[in-house]
Symmetry: C2
Subunit: 467 residues, 2 copies
């Protein structure tokens, strides 16, 4: 490059010194690059050698995976009852968040959610009966993720629950998610009892049919576009969904009015959605699931297609390693706890909602949502920093999801397990926190770092697959 | 201060050097202070001497004015027809934006809006007839601001138009504003014709009664709270109102469903609001008007209570100088022009919407709305810079309206005309741009600086009032 060319190139700052100087530079474009070298995470030298030797092949596989992820077009196409539509759903099966787990190893909130689910299904009259049945061996458990489904927190899906159906229009595949119950005493945080059950029944009998008819009237609702708009309105669509919920509400309300015979039901449904700023989470999650599932089974790809937690283990899946799970113990979040609660009350990280981070949203897009620090703790500058750090472990930038404060830079998308391991930097996840005991509910929200374990195992497995 | 104390105080950076270094510091708290000294604007040494001598008295008056402005609580309390509620409204009177002006000196869009208004009122059958009537001397014109009203762009209010009624609950005073027509060919941008008139009639016959009944059902809607939320969602509530519109929609939709007898009308109203992201502008403006009007007539106060433009002149009023107007020619905005238009097509700055800046919103709060640069031009960093600059000419920070990206710092509120003049820094206004010819409509949007002239005149007048 001639001096002439150099002077006409955009300025880039490479900072080898105090990181805070780079931070201040970064707040203004052009972005600065921090050479933040850390020793790689511990992996076998053999794996490293294989992945290095196969780099070109991995690159080709990744380009294919990334193109699929970037071009996915998730749309809400309808609603139905879980047993009618979720592949492999059956009367004795209960789905849960995270990687596979047995009743014996399940955490309090997962058990609480299952117990609430069995009461809701009419399989048990009391929570005690439900607990006995759940532990009896009669009920089968499987991860949502293995049934094209995602669920926030405990992620419990029982056969009678209504689910929203999201189609990735570009690739045809479907994903499913239950309807968001709101905050307070709710099943997904492991709460149970009269209040929880009454709400679930209302959701089945009123919310579900009203929404189903409205979505049939509107036709497919473009969630990719809605998420993109929400990022321009201060959401990261994991822990902050006020804008997404507003946009969905605006889109669906006229159709609800048109299709709902009962004025009282229409008002109740609109009031319910208006009262729950997390409603859109159960749309952003399956939107990401539908987008990422299309990129599964691309041999050689080091791109992560699932990160999830069942409250005991943190699980990871790669595009290049099929249905294999890589797990390690989930960590207890350093969170902003609600009054009266502390870290001692908190369950380890739980939920499929990290699918948003896997899709380049949530903690990865948190620079778009500075107001979230009120909910999860920290300063606005932390939100910028988290997003900048995630560019270091991702292989692409979204073409559609942008961060206005970074001059509309695409969000960091497509976690490359090689970068996670070699740069020794784990994904940040912007999450809610459940009480560790069944039956209590949410106790806080915060930012949690994924454990390195699952990524290191996935790294080794990818190497083995390319030997 | 001992060294011990100094070390335990929050760090403040005073930068006398290159401003960009301060900018980068500012993006992270604690904020840096730029000593950006400019020679004062030209004002008489006599005025300067008087205001300096009366500084303590001005300070007391300002504290009173600021307390009123900061504690205002604007709420939407109802709707009615202009002639029934706007004080002094009469059949031959048409209100317009900005300071007083005669037909002869009016700009194209103001004339176009008046012509459209006369056709809408049935006072003229054609635009040609309307123009002749408007120029005949038979019609009286007065500023919206003198009738407790504000109007965006041309700001035309005729007797039959529906208006929203905003009450400042703390002080009891009322403010009025018409309903927002949306974008495209609309009266407020000086457009006329069949399309404009048909929409205005629909607004009078359907939108107005439906909204009136719904607001009667909800009871007063807290606009202060809604604006505060909108700032957390990327609006500055002048040129970006997508979040405000969404929040208003969420609040009003259930009441529309409950109160509207005709399903078709309810759907049409919801669809209209959903299709117009500027709907909330006509609520944020009168919210600011109701807030600021309560601080009028406080002798000695140098706080600005109105900035507005009629497309020819830019006008300013102070809390301390009663109903006197201080004016100078309005400037043509350096804007982002729509395809096919340029600055040569643009009318000078127009509209009462600068009441948002006067109230600490709009251009003053633009750091909350980085996505707006897509609409008005520039980079996200410019949005931060504009807001920082406005702290230099304001006397307070909002207790309610916050900027998440600045760690929830209150927006710069209460323009002190002394700071404008002595620091030689004028307010920035984030505005839409009308075509200079009647009948065309919007051609762009951008950031415009207020002219210094009205502030210099106000400064002198304040001095005279304290001689």
């Amino acid at each position: 490059m001639s001096l002439q060319e150099l002077l006409h190139s955009p300025l880039r700052v490479v900072n080898l010194g105090i990181e805070s100087f780079k931070d201040t530079c970064e707040a203004f474009s052009p972005p600065a690059i921090q050479v933040d070298w850390r020793p790689p995470a511990e992996v076998s030298p053999e794996s490293e050698a294989i992945l290095s030797k196969r780099a070109a092949r991995i690159e080709r596989a990744n380009q294919k995976a990334l193109e699929i992820i970037l071009s996915g077009t998730p749309k809400l196409v309808g609603l139905d009852i879980a047993r009618n539509v979720i592949p492999g759903m059956r009367e004795n099966l209960i789905l849960h968040s995270g990687p596979p787990i047995t009743w014996e190893r399940m955490s309090g909130p997962t058990r609480g959610g299952i117990m609430a689910g069995l009461v809701y299904e009419g399989r048990a009259a009391t929570i005690e009966e439900a607990e006995a049945l759940a532990a009896s061996g009669e009920i089968e458990y499987a991860p949502c993720h293995e049934h094209a489904t995602v669920g926030p927190m405990a992620g419990i899906v029982t056969p009678s629950m209504p689910v929203m159906i999201i189609q990735n229009e570009t690739y045809g595949n479907l994903a499913y998610c239950t309807l968001n119950e709101g905050l307070g005493k709710v099943l997904r945080y492991g709460a149970f009892g009269e209040e929880v059950n009454t709400r679930l029944k209302w959701m089945e009998n009123t919310l579900y049919p009203v929404l189903k008819a409205a979505v049939a009237r509107t036709g497919p609702i473009d969630l990719k576009n809605m998420i993109a708009q929400a990022l321009h309105m201060g959401d990261e669509v994991h822990n902050r969904n006020r804008a997404g919920t507003s946009l969905f509400y605006r889109a669906i309300a006229p159709a609800i009015v048109e299709t709902c015979e009962s004025k009282a039901d229409a008002v109740a449904v609109l009031t319910f959605i208006n009262g729950n700023d997390h409603f859109f989470l159960n749309l952003s999650m399956p939107a990401c699931k539908a987008t990422l599932d299309a990129a599964r089974n691309i041999k050689g790809s080091s791109i992560v297609v699932a990160m999830c937690r069942n409250g005991t283990d943190f699980g990871v899946q790669l595009a290049g390693t099929g249905n294999e799970w890589f797990t390690a113990p989930a960590e207890v979040p350093d969170a902003l706890y609600f009054a009266g609660f502390s870290k001692a009350d908190a369950n380890p990280d739980i939920g499929d909602s990290a699918i948003t981070e896997t899709g380049g949203l949530g903690g990865f897009a948190i620079a778009a949502a500075p107001a979230i620090v009120q909910f999860v703790g920290g300063h606005a500058a932390d939100a910028l920093r988290y997003t900048y750090e995630m560019y270091e472990i991702t292989a692409a930038e979204s073409r559609m999801y942008q961060i206005p404060a970074l001059d509309f830079r695409g969000t960091p998308t497509g976690i490359d397990v090689r970068k996670v391991v070699e740069r020794n930097r784990v994904p940040v996840i912007d999450t809610g926190v459940a009480h560790k005991k069944a039956g209590v509910g949410q106790v806080g929200a915060g930012i949690v770092s994924a454990p390195m374990g699952p990524f290191a195992k996935a790294y080794d497995a990818l190497a083995r697959s390319l030997q």
